[in-house]
Symmetry: C2
Subunit: 351 residues, 2 copies
DNA sequence: CGGACAATTGTTAGCGCTAACATGTGCCTC
DNA sequence: GAGGCACATGTTAGCGCTAACAATTGTCCG
């Protein structure tokens, strides 16, 4: 099993012998307990350093019941947002002395979520964080009983669970208002998967803003977050742009629920010979690093994913201390680039 | 600490009492040992199900010295390739009964790598997998002594370490050959970070292919993997395209070391009024989901990241069994789309 | 100057599990 | 029918650590 001549991990007893104290004193030094004489502490620390001793996590976990590990349940970690949040989460967890164990759901089902949480519980993780999961998995989260704190990150706001989230509604409102202020009569919308709370939040924000401005609320197109679905929505929309020109019901602005779909949409519009923002203005959501280099550069809503991860860990720590940490949503920010422009003065001039 | 009336995790003793056997028999059933009477096994299994018993991982780890956990050390997990590979790794690990614990390096330094591996060792992980790390961190990997198998995924081929990788050279050769076959005199190259083994592999494949074809090997531009660096390279290249037209030394084809930089480059060329593939053909690397929707759709080299993850776990398992698993590289595939076209017949006709 | 009390260190037990060994039972063989 | 042997189960020890308690020392105060 160990091809190299592994030097057999040493324990506290070895350190204790080397420093001439009891193993308990070593334990006290390792755990930073107060009542240890400075000289003794010094001696123990030196012994630890000399021997290269590292405490055995499993033994400690067995007796304390805590592994200093956070279990992360997620799906769609291959998407920019969740991946970026993972980065923030891991860094913050590590800074707080916690490790991160990940489980990726094969499907967004209740069973998968239940099983993942179960596995984490039997691994004695100190808390479970659910990141960017959808539909049934999210609902399961609400029902799940767990002996450890179970918190949600970026699954929209859920009053039933301690949650950390970016205010999707505000972001969507920002995007919509920007387009209305440019003189567009109304704003169309391509949303994400129906079972995604983020998608729902964005749709809600968009609808509220339109309603508040007294604008007509057009029918939405449904997408999957992926570029291909944005492309499909783009073709459909292009047809409506043309039809709209004749009927006077112009499509001049779209708010797309994420940048990747916006890219697909941009591509479809381009193929159809429509110019952006000349014929139609487009706003995305996320501000992926690529967005600034789309053709044209995409106006979008930036989410601070790293901050989200940090707050997720803060929330976990607060729960572990038994505090009722009330998390404020993280505020998104509108980034204006070249894909949005003023509505054309007359709705019926053709290219 | 536990606001809910947590039912206090029960142990083997409880199950044993409930089933009327000894705790050892329960242990045997749980671990699938052979010599248990079918009736007894049945009874124990029922007791387990009825009580909802889950074995305590920490206790097991303490006595066996194995946590059935794989430690994953990575950086750049926010990039498409590594994230996708993570997906494959986790799934394969879970299927084999292993959990995945992740550490993300703050910087690609030897110290960071050493510390991460150290933490994993003291956590008694069964193996450590290094995924897509660069420079000094990779070199540290080669030097690191560890009591557990330490394997590398996607850091280029490293003869000093058990490694699983996509053959970058073949991929680069595929891209380069494709362009040469379209009639381009030579192919320019935008590479990735200098300390990335992948970037080096791609550059090597490109250079070899050019040399084999007797083509001139132009100077490379250095990028960072991010779109912004591709954009910078694009502006520079555009200037050379113009200069080349006058001097006769035309720049008509570029192989960019990843898709994100290719996007930036495409954007820069577009801004400069150059058409793709009319004025210049572009090939990327990775085949991110967005690549098909760039303007124009990007010809690129697809890597099978999920397969890479799967093989990574296979390699880990083989090592744990003490076998000398010899991994073959995963072969990349050229995906031809609209960003490449034939070289123009005469090198000096202007737009 | 004796007793109380704090500071420091040591001793003991046990977390929940697996491995090694011990025991008990039935069956086959010679 | 005694010995042996495979199977089924139970008993015991201990993995490396922390928590609770015990012991020892020194210090301060009345």
């Amino acid at each position: 099993m160990l091809p190299e001549g592994a030097p057999r991990a040493l324990g506290m007893a070895d350190v204790a012998a080397h420093a001439g104290v009891s193993h308990q004193t070593v334990s006290r030094v390792v755990n930073g307990h107060p009542n240890v004489a400075p000289a003794t502490r010094e001696r123990v620390l030196r012994a630890i350093a000399e021997l290269g001793y590292r405490p055995n996590t499993a033994a400690r976990a067995l007796v304390t019941g805590s592994t200093r590990t956070i279990g992360l349940v997620t799906s769609h970690i291959n998407q920019y947002g969740p991946a970026q949040t993972l980065l923030g989460l891991e860094k913050a967890a590590r800074a707080a002395g916690y490790s991160l164990s990940v489980a990726i759901l094969d499907e967004d089902s209740e069973g998968a979520m239940r099983e993942a949480v179960d596995r984490f519980v039997s691994q004695s993780v100190d808390a479970v964080v659910a990141l960017s999961t959808y539909g049934q998995a999210v609902e399961a989260l609400g029902r799940l009983q767990s002996p450890v704190p179970l918190i949600a990150v970026q699954v929209g706001y859920d009053p039933a669970r301690p949650t950390v989230w970016v205010d999707q509604e505000v972001g969507a409102a920002l995007a919509t208002r920007h387009l209305l202020q440019l003189g567009h009569r109304t704003v169309h919308h391509v949303t994400g998967p129906q079972d995604s709370l983020e998608a729902r939040g964005r749709m809600l924000g968009w609808r509220k803003e339109l309603t508040a401005a007294g604008a007509r609320v057009p029918e939405v197109s449904y997408g999957s977050w992926w570029p291909s679905s944005g492309y499909a929505a783009g073709r459909e929309l292009a047809a409506r742009v043309r039809a709209g020109r004749r009927s006077g019901e112009a499509v001049t602005a779209v708010f797309v629920a994420n940048d990747q779909m916006a890219l697909g949409l941009l591509n479809a519009l381009h193929e159809e010979g429509l110019t952006v923002p000349g014929d139609i203005s487009v706003v995305g959501f996320d501000d992926v690093p690529e967005a600034a280099y789309y053709t044209p550069p995409l106006t979008t809503v930036r989410q601070d994913f790293a901050e989200l991860g940090r707050r997720g860990v803060q929330l976990v720590l607060a729960r572990l201390r038994g505090e009722g940490f009330h998390a404020e949503p993280v505020m998104p920010q509108l980034i204006v680039r070249g894909s949005t422009g003023p509505a054309r003065p007359a709705p019926d001039q053709s290219a």
